[in-house]
């Protein structure tokens, strides 16, 4: 006479029908694309190049901050080498588009048009870059996640620095397909990614459309993750590892997964960054300075809050663009503001909550009653 049935029995009772589920997935996908098109054509036509540039930067920063939030905010780990993963994605993706452009189109100029062979190669390269970064995340995460707190932080920092130095050791860039075909093995291993000089002339495929699309995908991914059983398990690790384990959460496995998800999106963000107008990738992009920027956005938004991380990413990008006029005082004030915020608003903007949970307590109660 047990009034509480087992999970499987319950689940069988409430199974939604397949058609509606498929429709739901389709609608979500189309909504992402529609939003991206809207941003690209409508918003893009209303603003000038300066604002466009800020929007692109902000979008990339959203992806980086929201993804780092999976590790630092959800699972409560302490990664401070996110830029290392970003750089892996950036270099892999840039290497693919640059050399395939040389091979296919005979020049590193980007093809025009929203959807072209070149831009599809770019989108694919972003995914490959993300996968490469996720692979790196797996390599770093698997052995090092048994380290606690600060020690993990140190390893991730070390990882970023190692990526930086290794990128410095890459071969000089090759500037034509003939040159590339004629290159000896020694010029190709390590890959010709520009070494300390940086990787230049990357085709500029990053547009508002692609940035908005990937931002949308990242956000949907993170929100759905956070509100799923797996996401709760991640949050429980952050709250109390021992209790989480005792309740059957495989914490090592989840930490590695969180690490890989985060690295994947960092890699995608890196790819978008690499293909922006006027960007030359530099090994220092993998260094701690950039990692810190991303980390700051996450903490400022409130650890665990996706909307917080996204909002903080935008705020920081805009603020730093506006503060350029302050010259050398810019970073001094930025640093002071950071310290003051940490002292007077230690939970960040929203704490662990999402923006609407903070602003609308009503909504939350309704959600629970459901």
């Amino acid at each position: 006479m047990s009034p509480v049935s087992k999970l499987d029995e319950q689940a069988a009772l409430v199974m939604p029908d397949r058609g509606r589920a498929a429709l739901n997935a389709l609608v979500t996908g189309l909504a992402c694309i529609a939003a991206a098109l809207l941003v690209h054509f409508v918003v893009g036509s209303m603003v000038g190049p300066f604002v466009t540039r800020i929007m692109l930067d902000a979008g990339v920063m959203i992806i980086l901050a929201v993804s780092l939030n999976i590790v630092n905010g959800f699972t409560g780990q302490f990664s401070i080498g996110h830029a290392g993963f970003m750089a892996v994605g950036a270099y892999v993706a840039a290497g693919i588009t640059y050399y395939s452009s040389l091979a296919l189109f005979g020049s590193y100029q980007a093809q025009t048009g929203l959807i072209s062979v070149g831009s599809l190669i770019f989108a694919a390269s972003a995914l490959v870059g993300g996968l490469a970064a996720a692979g790196a995340g797996w390599v770093v995460g698997l052995p090092s996640l048994r380290l606690r707190g600060d020690y993990l932080a140190i390893v991730t920092l070390g990882f970023g620095e190692i990526v930086r130095v290794l990128l410095q050791q890459s071969n000089p860039q090759l500037f034509s397909w003939d040159e590339t075909r004629a290159a000896s093995l020694k010029e190709l291993v390590p890959p010709p990614l520009g070494g300390a000089q940086g990787f230049q002339s990357i085709p500029t495929y990053t547009s508002l459309f692609w940035v908005a699309l990937f931002v949308a995908i990242t956000l949907v991914f993170c929100f759905r993750l956070k509100r799923s059983s797996e996401g709760r398990a991640m949050l429980s690790i952050r709250e109390d590892e021992i209790a989480a384990q005792a309740m059957g959460v495989n914490i090592t496995n989840l930490k590695v997964r969180a690490f890989m998800f985060a690295s994947f999106f960092a890699g995608v963000g890196g790819a978008l960054y690499a293909h922006q107008l006027g960007t030359a990738l530099r090994p220092t992009d993998a260094g701690f300075a950039r990692s810190f920027e991303i980390l700051i956005a996450v903490v400022l938004g409130g650890l665990g809050s996706i909307s917080g991380a996204a909002l903080a990413a935008v705020l920081l990008t805009v603020a730093s663009a506006l503060m350029i006029e302050l010259g050398p005082w810019r970073m001094v004030l930025y640093a002071l503001a950071l310290i003051l915020i940490m002292i007077f608003r230690p939970g960040g903007l929203f704490g662990v909550k999402e923006a609407w949970e903070v602003f609308g307590g009503l909504w939350r109660r309704k959600a629970v009653a459901r």
């Binding site: 140190i154 701690f288 940490m342």
Partner: protein
């Protein structure tokens, strides 16, 4: 063989710098359990304060930096330590103390904020003292964005060079000198000539570039460039460079660092304050219940750590005389390596920091010399990751099991 010894000397010298800086990281971690990312910036402030004192203040006191007696150098060091101790005190009091008990990530970000503040504040430049005649440059605060050359407070000379002959110059003619005594120059050795012009306090030095062989008195001997001041009749000494030169700077570094480390050891293990410090590091709550003034101990720990960092900055600038601006990559890497040393040795453990400092210097210098100099940072971080995987709390660190 010579190569090996030379590398070892560098290891000891650089290692003691790493150790000095690592001590600061380790003491703060031991007591507050957080990584003070701003520690490396205190090293930079120490170096730049030393520069300002040596290049701007010493001349105004009538001391020519390059001819400064040892106590002037000691004075520069003291001042740097005092300034940085003050900086450390303020940082703890105004940035870290309000966050005591806050989540670790917050404290970490604050430390990064403090670090960013110093890096960028240090690059500002406002003139506070006008130039005042030759050799008395303007004084600007903070330090500006241009690299500067630290005056050589400690002469660049090896202690184990052998003087093979002395006499007076018979003649000087640009890049040729004629000696009053006969000399034989051996194969594959380097020689230099030190000439002391009449009435000058210090010798000027030139490389001998003449081929090996016997040179009779009065015979032409080619040198690099002989600076003005040398004249027939000036006293000279012909010096054969040691195969493995032991630089005075390195000796000064190792001696000063060693002295400071011994003093610290005595302070921590032989004094009441040291006992309080260890108590706080073991368990802050219990210590305060036992009547230890926790806040005072923490303040003093910061002051200690930062003044050691200042000493490291000073010594570093003696060895590597080009000072880069405060946000330069090189500084950050110096700090990171020292930090790695602290972690590898077992963060929170004082002996560990010293051990780690030398270990990291060893790996870095030998890797750079015998494998590839480009990858020197990779060795350091590689060792870090390796050690952490094998012994997650560092070589001398102790494990704490969480009680459930």
């Amino acid at each position: 063989m010579g190569d090996l010894l030379q590398t070892l000397i560098t290891v000891i010298s650089v290692g003691s710098l790493y150790a000095l800086i690592a001590l600061g990281y380790t003491m703060v971690y031991g007591i507050l359990k957080f990584i003070n990312f701003a520690h490396s910036d205190v090293v930079v402030i120490g170096a730049w304060t030393s520069f300002t004192t040596a290049a701007v203040l010493l001349p105004r006191l009538g001391v020519t930096p390059t001819e400064a007696p040892w106590w002037a150098a000691a004075g520069v060091l003291m001042l740097a330590m005092v300034v940085c101790g003050l900086v450390g005190f303020c940082v703890e009091r105004f940035a870290y103390r309000p966050l005591r008990g806050a989540p670790r990530l917050n404290v970490l970000i604050t430390a990064i904020g403090v670090s960013l503040f110093f890096q960028n504040f240090g690059q500002l430049k406002y003139e506070v003292l006008k130039p005042d005649g030759p050799g008395k440059p303007a004084m600007s605060l903070p330090f500006g964005a241009q690299p500067q050359g630290m005056p050589r407070l400690v002469g660049s000379r090896a202690l184990n060079d052998a003087t093979v002959s002395r006499g007076t110059l018979a003649g000087v003619d640009g890049a040729v000198v004629r000696l009053s005594e006969g000399v034989s120059l051996e194969e594959r050795r380097q020689y230099s000539i030190r000439v002391t012009p009449a009435g000058a306090p210090r010798a000027i030095e030139a490389m001998v570039v003449a081929p090996a062989g016997r040179y009779e008195p009065g015979q032409d001997l080619r040198v690099g460039f002989m600076p003005a001041g040398a004249a027939p009749g000036s006293a000279y000494a012909l010096v054969r460079s040691a195969r493995v030169p032991i630089q005075l700077v390195d000796v000064a570094i190792v001696a000063t660092a060693g002295l400071l480390m011994v003093l610290l050891q005595l302070l921590v293990y032989r004094t009441k304050f040291g006992m309080a410090m260890r108590a706080v590091s073991f368990n802050t709550t219990t210590a305060s219940l036992m009547g230890v003034a926790v806040n005072r101990v923490i303040s003093l720990t910061f002051v200690l750590g930062t003044s050691l960092a200042a000493a490291a900055g000073f010594l570093y600038s003696l060895k590597y005389v080009t000072l880069q601006q405060t946000a330069h990559q090189g500084w950050v890497l110096l700090g990171l390596k020292a930090f790695v040393a602290a972690v590898v040795g077992g963060i929170g453990n004082i002996q560990g920091a010293v051990l780690g400092g030398f270990l990291i210097a060893f790996v870095e210098q030998f890797g750079a010399r015998y494998i590839s100099s480009d990858l020197r940072d990779v060795y350091v971080f590689g060792v870090l990751i390796l050690v952490l995987l094998l012994r997650p709390t560092g070589i001398l660190g102790s494990t704490v099991r969480e009680k459930v």
